[in-house]
């Protein structure tokens, strides 16, 4: 499943969409950047509440497919500018981290 399909099926709000055809390889959760740096994986849909600019840098460095901000996490305008510059997908979900992650997991695994 790619990012565009995830937006369509899960109804997440797109805050920044780059190419949209990036494939999602799995779901990842964590809010501690050092852990995300070492455990985040290429193609991941990273569900977090860390709506700050460093999340974009970490997503770019770990080559994750998309950041999904859970709990309707407040949007930082600087973050979106950075996401645009670095072609990082950012979506927003009103649901908590677990529900958001489970929804993505089910969609990408046809569960």
């Amino acid at each position: 499943m790619n990012v565009n399909e995830l937006i369509e099926k899960a109804g997440f709000k797109p805050l920044n969409v780059a190419s949209g055809d990036r494939e999602i390889s799995g779901v990842y959760n964590c809010d501690l950047m050092s852990v995300v740096m070492s455990k985040g994986f290429p193609g991941a849909a990273w569900v977090t509440i860390m709506a700050n600019i460093n999340a974009v840098a970490v997503a770019a460095l770990t080559d994750m497919a998309v950041i999904v901000l859970a709990e309707g996490a407040a949007l930082d305008e600087v973050m979106i500018e950075k996401a645009k510059a670095q072609d990082i997908h950012v979506l927003q979900s009103d649901k908590p981290i677990f529900e958001t992650s489970l929804e993505i997991y089910k969609l990408i695994n046809n569960a």
Binding site: S34, S38, N52, A57, V58, A60, L61
Partner: protein
């Protein structure tokens, strides 16, 4: 072939730009065809170092030398120095402030991660003068 040398300046307390140097190096290494595993190690080790320079020192300079067999990163700052390196190397030990922690950093994993993801790491620190961390990643 001569070695490629890249130089970056890290600004103090500027979280908005932290990661730019690591990101640039990552892009260049990828384009040069460096194996993904080595690129990932460099990206993680250098990003942690960059964040440390923003959090603890007043920024600094990063020099990256790319040789056919190694990537050498030299991170030099004029910060306060590290009082107790053994403690600083312990996972979970941190002197970061509350607002740094609120951004998802300062968990005491920076230096341990830098050691873990580099093949060689050396810390030269002088209290009140600054710290230079040299990391090498084998290609």
């Amino acid at each position: 072939m001569s070695n490629l040398v890249l130089k970056y300046t890290v600004d103090a307390e500027d979280f908005t730009r932290a990661g730019e140097a690591s990101s640039d190096v990552k892009g260049k290494l990828k384009r040069m065809g460096v194996p993904p595993d080595a690129v990932r190690k460099v990206a993680i080790a250098m990003y942690e170092g960059e964040i440390n320079m923003v959090i603890h020192a007043d920024g600094g300079e990063i020099t990256v030398e790319i040789t056919p067999s190694q990537i050498i990163m030299i991170l030099a700052d004029k910060g306060p120095g590290i009082k107790d390196i053994d403690k600083a190397m312990q996972a979970g030990w941190s002197t970061a402030s509350e607002n740094v922690r609120a951004l998802g950093f300062g968990a005491g994993m920076g230096l341990p991660n830098m050691k873990k993801y580099s093949d060689e790491m050396k810390i030269d620190t002088v209290i009140g003068v600054g710290t230079t961390v040299t990391m090498k990643v084998n290609i």
